[in-house]
């Protein structure tokens, strides 16, 4: 545990990727395979379900520290992180345990799950007493499922590749599914991860998907596209669909569906099973899972849908905008989110919220890795595969064409009415890379500007981690009546915590402290004085929100110090954006 806690401290202390990489390599080079197995699991985002309820942990910590609840609460407010607070308050170890991470997880921590409170009260504090502060904090983060450290899966992949001399792509492939809940990391899993490549490795893959290739944001004025990107003819252009990026893996007579988070999601989308007999073994398709408005079998035939897709290619802007969403049948992401949120899938849900896949790319065909074929070849083959599949559950993501970037920019104006986030530009000769690599060709996401409104800050909450001592998470409101209306009030509609510079955040923090009206735990209500331009990606009706509106990915675009609170936007302005 100590070595892992030291690794955590090293990773936490730096923002440099090289320093993090060095820390990871040092750790993995020295770690026992069983410990390394768990370290890979946690560092690449694996999270076992919470082992001990947070509330109980607080109570036990208060007891152990012999503190009244209010003082524990004040301490937590100052620290901003529960695990860290507890590690600072409970008595520290006189001699600390030398057991490794694996032993801690398997023998001490995992067995706690599901135990009644009395048993936990007996067992937890003695465990705490075996750890120094640093290890204790990390251990508590593991217990509460709140372990997070600024390391990407890609960095873990690079560290393992550096250490073993293996190709990073190979490691990435082996890592896929590693953090799946059904897996328990152990020494042999880790040894497989770092083993030298065997001749029959390909055959051992089963349902393993490929690492996803990810796009980079394109932030250029359209006038500079030609100069930077060349002519549009060198690019494959598609809509950037707003669904779940997924990979369909068909091997050994079975179909596996993986999300971009490398989570196996086949069971949540049983309707896709009908694709299994229609795809040949050794086929892997990258695409977007979207909600399809009409049950596909009831409305359009595969041919019609292909027709729709093809037509969209050549359509001019005017024809495209009106009712296209309706015709094309894609539903807002909010619906998909609703479906993901359900624990059980009722017949009604399957009927009301059916899904289909828009194919982007072909990664494997006839059992062979196609990722090093150029984009246009993969696309052509993808279309052939989809035609042969002949199921309305699988369609190619339509290609968009135009002679100039300006024309594409015009088409892009239709994004919002189509319910898409903008366009994707894929170099025609690009290979399919790994993650955010750029060396084998590049994908750009050319997103539309977000919606924006001027909103008033009404609540502030302390942040976490780096922002633990600052009021950095805000709730924003708009007026429920026009300026001058009597008794109009501010209605909260969004929470946002990103978009400000550290400097601005400090200033806002000071104002929050000065204008506090009431404190509720970590939250303060303030006298409304601050107006921010708030940007968001999507907007939908919502019954759960007081305002009747929910927005996606809200963030602060800028601080409108020039704008008095009375001139902030109204609920009616927000409703206008709904169309």
């Amino acid at each position: 545990m100590k070595a892992f806690a030291e690794l955590y401290a090293r990773l936490d202390a730096t923002t440099s990727s090289n320093a993090k990489l060095a820390a990871l390599v040092d750790y993995f080079s020295a770690a026992e395979p069983a410990d390394a197995a768990w370290a890979v699991y946690f560092l690449s985002g694996g999270r076992p379900r919470q082992l001990v309820p947070t509330r109980l942990m607080r109570e036990l910590a208060m007891d152990a520290a012999n503190l009244p609840e209010w003082l524990f609460e004040e301490s937590y407010q100052a620290v901003g992180d529960l695990a860290e607070t507890v590690s600072l308050l409970v008595p520290t170890a006189e001699h600390s345990s030398n057991d490794g991470l694996a032993q801690w997880m398997e023998e001490k921590l995992l067995p706690l799950r599901g135990e009644p409170p009395e048993v936990l009260a007996d067992r937890l504090p003695p465990l705490w007493r075996q750890l120094d502060r640093q290890s204790l904090m990390v251990c508590l983060k593991l217990i509460t499922g709140a372990f997070r450290v600024g390391v990407s899966k890609l960095l873990v992949t690079r560290a393992l590749a550096t250490m073993t001399g293996l190709d990073a792509k190979r490691i990435a492939q082996r890592l896929v599914g590693y953090t799946d809940l059904s897996n328990r990391p152990d020494a042999s899993a880790y040894e497989r991860l770092v083993a030298q490549e065997s001749a029959d490795e390909h055959a051992q893959r089963g349902g393993q998907p490929y690492p996803f290739f990810l796009a980079h944001p394109l932030q250029l004025p359209v006038e500079q596209f030609e100069q930077t990107l060349g002519p549009p003819s060198a690019w494959q252009v598609e809509w950037k669909w707003d669904g779940i990026r997924a990979q369909l893996v068909k091997r050994d007579g079975r179909l596996w569906v993986w999300s971009r988070g490398e989570e196996l999601i086949s069971e949540r989308f049983p309707e896709l099973d009908e694709l299994a007999p229609r795809l040949l073994d050794g086929t892997v398709i990258d695409g977007e899972l979207v909600v399809w408005k009409h049950a596909p079998d009831a409305t359009a035939s595969q041919a019609d849908l292909m027709q729709d897709a093809a037509e969209l290619d050549s359509q001019t802007l005017n024809e495209q905008v009106e009712g296209e969403l309706e015709r094309f049948g894609i539903q807002p992401f909010a619906l998909l989110q609703q479906r993901i949120g359900r624990k059980t899938l009722s017949k009604k849900i399957l009927q009301d919220v059916p899904v289909a896949v828009l194919g982007y790319d072909l990664l494997e065909w006839e059992g062979r890795d196609w990722r090093s074929h150029p984009q246009h070849e993969r696309r052509a083959q993808l279309e052939a595969v989809i035609t042969a599949c002949a199921s309305p559950r699988l369609m190619p993501s339509p290609k968009l064409t135009a002679n100039t970037w300006a024309e594409l920019a015009e088409q892009r104006e239709a994004s919002r009415s189509l319910g898409v986030e903008g366009m994707m530009l894929k170099a025609r000769d690009a290979l399919y890379g790994v993650g955010r690599t750029k060396d084998m060709g590049v994908w750009w996401k050319w997103k539309i500007d977000p919606f924006s409104v001027d909103a008033v800050l009404i609540y502030a909450q302390r942040g976490h981690g780096r922002r633990a001592s600052l009021y950095s998470d805000y709730t924003f409101a708009v007026w429920d009546g026009p300026p001058g209306a009597k008794e109009r009030t501010l209605v909260p509609f969004a929470k946002a915590y990103s978009g400000l510079t550290d400097e601005e955040m400090r200033k806002v923090d000071a104002i929050v402290r000065k204008t506090t009206v009431e404190k509720f735990g970590p939250v303060r209500s303030v006298t409304p004085t601050l107006v921010f331009e708030l940007g968001f990606e999507g907007i939908a009706l919502s019954k759960r929100h007081k305002s009747g509106i929910a927005v996606r990915f809200p963030r602060m675009l800028r601080w409108r110090q020039d704008k008095p609170v009375e001139e902030a936007d109204t609920l009616a302005n927000l409703q206008d954006l709904l169309q």
């Binding site: 202390a13 301490s75 992180d81 633990a468 600052l470 400090r506």
Partner: protein
């Protein structure tokens, strides 16, 4: 009768007609120590503990109207018996003991209970009413013994040296810097200091405190190989300035009690945070209060509301004093729990 009350000018002793660490110009000021938020310019008459004279004169003015008194020695002014007692905070820091008509009050100024060799160690003084600071008045603040912290600094310095990197340690220029210089292993390599630190080193040396040989960092050219082996002690304000460029590739660290929290460490953006404070930690505050035997406790700068509530729950008569003392150490760090 209250021997000390809060007035707009500062803490005031009505029978003695003088102020303790006032923040506005007054006729008579009793000064606990030379940190800027306690010892201000513009008083007509200053009274301070004798060991603090050098620092006070170097910071306020060589010709300031200053009267000094050795620790423990008493003088009587308007019937109030006054004496200074070591506070263990920085060189010359003192608690002020006031006695009037059988009533004893002690104003602590800033204090630290762990002895550090650079100033007379904190000495508990029995009293009826104790005025305490509360800078680190939350139970999350408990200091490790300083020997462990110095061992950590030495280890960091050696590791940087092995990699050919300079070690830049930020610390407050008066008190903390000298404590570090006194405590670290000067056999590891050359020690360089910023221009703000050296004059204070001189005062400490004159007071007989062992401060190892230091060089003025400004005398070295960029790329001087000596820099790569050196420890450089500089005030936080030097961080990010052009002054830092001369060190090329360096590792930086910050020494402060606030480094206890991961959030503040990260916000500082330094490679290392060493938890070293000139103030009492939570157990230190409680121990000091208990040692005085006081039944009444007045709490000043820091976590006033929290400490007051806690002491009341322990059965003491506690209340807060509003003061304008700040946190001289890391005024630019966002302070925690200082809501009152």
């Amino acid at each position: 009768m209250d021997l000390v009350i809060a007035r707009p000018e500062g803490l005031y002793c009505p029978p003695g007609d003088f102020y303790i660490d006032p923040w506005r110009p007054v006729d008579r000021a009793v000064i606990t120590h030379a940190h800027g938020d306690h010892a201000r310019w513009g008083m007509k008459h200053y009274l301070a503990a004798a060991p603090g004279e050098g620092i006070l004169r170097s910071r306020i003015g060589a010709d300031m109207p200053l009267q000094t008194l050795p620790y423990g020695e008493r003088i009587v002014h308007h019937g109030v018996t006054l004496s200074f007692h070591p506070a263990g905070h920085v060189l010359g820091s003192a608690q002020v003991r006031l006695e009037y008509e059988g009533e004893v009050w002690v104003a602590s100024g800033d204090y630290k209970v762990e002895p550090d060799g650079t100033c007379a160690p904190f000495e508990p003084v029995r009293c009826h009413t104790f005025i305490t600071e509360s800078t680190f008045g939350l139970p999350i603040y408990t200091w490790q013994p300083q020997a462990e912290i110095f061992a950590g600094i030495n280890e960091w310095w050696r590791a940087n040296q092995a990699q050919g990197r300079a070690s830049v340690l930020f610390s407050y220029a008066f008190g903390k810097a000298q404590r570090i210089l006194h405590g670290i292993d000067d056999g590891i390599g050359p020690i360089l200091v910023h221009g703000a630190v050296e004059p204070l080193n001189r005062v400490y040396r004159e007071a007989g405190i062992r401060i190892p040989e230091t060089h003025y960092a400004g005398d070295f050219k960029k790329n001087d190989p000596m820099l790569r082996e050196a420890l450089i002690v500089a005030p936080p304000s030097a961080g990010g300035s052009t002054w830092m460029r001369r060190f090329g590739d360096y590792s930086d660290a910050f020494a402060s009690g606030w480094m206890m929290l991961r959030g503040t460490r990260r916000r500082r953006g330094v490679d290392r945070g060493f938890v070293l404070s000139d103030h009492a930690d939570w157990p230190g505050l409680l121990w000091a209060i208990e040692q005085t035997g006081a039944e009444r406790v007045m709490v000043t700068h820091g976590s006033v509301a929290i400490l007051v509530r806690y002491l009341r729950e322990q059965g003491l008569d506690a209340q807060g004093f509003t003061t304008e003392y700040g946190d001289e150490e890391e005024a630019d760090l966002v302070k925690e729990g200082a809501s009152v």
